[in-house]
């Protein structure tokens, strides 16, 4: 939606992108607090890569560098991807992800405003399909890690792959709560047994993860209060997760995780407020946004419960991205003054 003609507002892509980055900060801080320094290194590395790849792509397409580099959209993509990856992801994982995000998903489709799919989610999807092992080596929450890595040790692990002597890989990484659930269910345990046997489950979501989710929620609410994102998408996305998960949980509480647990995952909150709300790849009509959000939430839970991958936010949003032209075509609001169709 654009501002009405009589409102004097300095609206620009750069301003929106900077505000999005600012509203991601609470989430980043919670991340550092709960999971250590890895995420900061990944964010910085992804941002550098994003700007370099964006500059390269612009050069190849003979576009001017400065206005497009300064709009900040590449950095937002970088942050969204880095926040979706494991906090101690090796450097080449981020590189491959950014190559697909900026090179394929953004510039091969025509650059900012032309891309059908959310670039960060394309990068994520490519990585989880290609490198499932590395993508599930999630850094353990600091409260559970045997020995938290210092900044230098994190740097060494991300760029060199080496751990300090005497420290095994199991001491720094652990499965995510969603991953633990999936593995347990495959071994025919009930939800209750899995949650009792593992330390990764916190009071609402996962240990550490629930705080990050809460911080994303806070940042997302600020973004909404500033009218950067429309309320329909996050509300419908979370409602879609809640309703679908609630139904499944009601049908079989021993197999399907409770709705509050599904919503308190960082990926769900990040997806609801920062990824599904992408103005380029999301629906543009008010009713369309509700459908888009509900569909994405529904698919997220379905993929988590029945799919082959532990989390479904990325695939759900990409699938709904595909439906956007159809949704927009069928949800055009009537022209003001026109008679309502029966």
């Amino acid at each position: 939606m654009t501002a009405s003609a009589h409102i004097l507002q300095k609206g620009s892509v750069t301003r929106v992108m900077l505000l999005v980055l600012a509203c991601l900060l609470p989430g980043v801080l919670a991340y550092v607090w709960q999971f250590g320094w890895g995420i900061v290194i990944n964010l910085a590395w992804a941002s550098i890569l994003a700007l370099a790849l964006e500059a390269l792509a612009l050069r190849l397409r003979s576009y001017p560098l400065k206005p497009f580099l300064a709009d900040g959209s590449a950095v937002v993509t970088a942050w969204l991807l880095a926040l979706s990856l494991p906090p101690l992801a090796p450097w080449w994982l981020t590189l491959v992800g950014m190559l697909f995000a900026i090179g394929v998903a953004k510039h091969l489709y025509g650059g900012l405003g032309q891309n059908i799919f959310n670039p960060a989610m394309i990068g994520f999807a490519v990585l989880i399909i290609s490198f499932p092992a590395q993508m599930t080596q999630w850094a353990a929450p600091l409260s559970l890690a045997a020995q938290p890595l210092t900044f230098g040790e994190s740097l060494g692990f991300i760029f060199g792959g080496g751990l300090p002597p005497g420290l095994g890989l199991d001491a720094v990484v652990s499965a995510t709560p969603l991953d633990t659930l999936r593995t347990g269910l495959l071994q025919q345990h009930t939800l209750h047994e899995i949650q009792a046997a593992s330390h990764v489950f916190g009071s609402v979501g996962g240990v550490g993860g629930e705080w990050v989710a809460a911080a994303y929620l806070a940042g997302g609410l600020i973004l909404w209060a500033l009218r950067i994102v429309p309320w329909q998408v996050p509300a419908a996305f979370l409602a879609g997760i809640w309703l679908t998960a609630g139904f499944l949980h009601w049908a079989d509480a021993g197999r399907y995780a409770a709705p509050w647990f599904q919503i308190a995952t960082p990926s769900a909150m990040l997806g609801a407020f920062f990824i599904a709300t992408d103005p380029v790849t999301g629906a543009t009509t008010p009713r369309g946004r509700l459908i888009f959000g509900l569909g994405a939430g529904f698919l997220t839970v379905i993929i988590r419960a029945f799919g082959g991958y532990p989390d479904g936010v990325a695939f759900a949003i990409l699938l709904m991205n595909l439906c956007v032209p159809l949704i927009d075509a069928y949800t055009q609001p009537p022209v003001f003054g026109a008679a309502k169709k029966k």
Binding site: V96, V104, V126, I129, S130, F131, P132
Partner: protein, 229 residues
């Protein structure tokens, strides 16, 4: 007999100008499904070349006897008979490869490019020309298959010619080339999305070469016009 000029035209059409893989976009089903490595791609490509050459020859031979209305069933029967020969031959002489290629050998029957050439070219031209056209069109498809298979194999697992022992027996096991030792593997390239991405890049690459050649030709034409003789 066939003249050099005619041969050059057929070859240019089959291999570049009307390449079935990257220009006509026909026969994509085996192209996308079987191009996960070079050996599979080359085997299926050569089987298709044989079927196309033989079916074009046969179709061209009967072109004056087949009523126009029932030509498609007749062509399909001819093609299916030839595919059955290839199917049985592979099963007998390269059984492991037969197991890998599986359903895609019988599916050559339904490959659009085979019927397309039979109907569009062989049913209107001399048998010799038709057989040559079928073979060259098939070679064009094989070329794309092999390039795509090579790209996906190198990107996906860092080797070339893996599985060659399936086609040529255990003696060929040592022929596998490992280009990238200690490669972690890039699963996406092996999986179906890798085929679509790879084919898209090949089509883009071909278009880029064509456009560059076109621009160069235009520039040459301008400079030639600007200089009075």
């Amino acid at each position: 007999m066939i003249s050099k000029q005619e041969f050059a035209t057929l070859a240019h059409n089959g291999l570049w100008k009307q390449n079935s893989g990257v220009v006509q976009l026909l026969g994509l089903c085996p192209l996308l499904a079987i191009s996960s490595n070079v050996v599979n791609a080359l085997s299926l490509g050569l089987a298709t070349v044989f079927v196309m050459a033989a079916s074009s020859l046969a179709v061209s031979g009967v072109r004056n006897f087949v009523p126009h209305e029932v030509r498609i069933p007749v062509f399909i029967l001819i093609i299916a008979a030839l595919v059955t020969i290839i199917d049985l031959a592979l099963n007998a002489f390269a059984h492991p490869l037969y197991l890998v290629l599986g359903i895609f050998i019988p599916l050559i029957t339904t490959n659009c490019i085979v019927l397309a050439r039979a109907d569009a070219y062989a049913s209107k031209n001399h048998p010799l020309h038709s057989a040559l056209d079928g073979a060259l069109m098939g070679l064009g498809l094989t070329l794309v298959l092999v390039i795509l298979g090579g790209l996906r194999e190198v990107a996906g697992q860092g080797t070339l010619l893996s599985g060659i022992d399936l086609a040529l027996g255990p003696a060929a096991k040592g022929w596998v080339i490992t280009l990238l030792p200690d490669y972690k593997g890039f699963l996406l390239a092996i999986l179906p999305p890798g085929a679509f991405l790879g084919l898209g890049l090949l089509i883009a690459g071909r278009n880029w070469i064509e456009q560059r050649a076109l621009r160069r030709a235009q520039r040459d034409a301008r400079t030639a016009a600007a200089q009075p003789a």
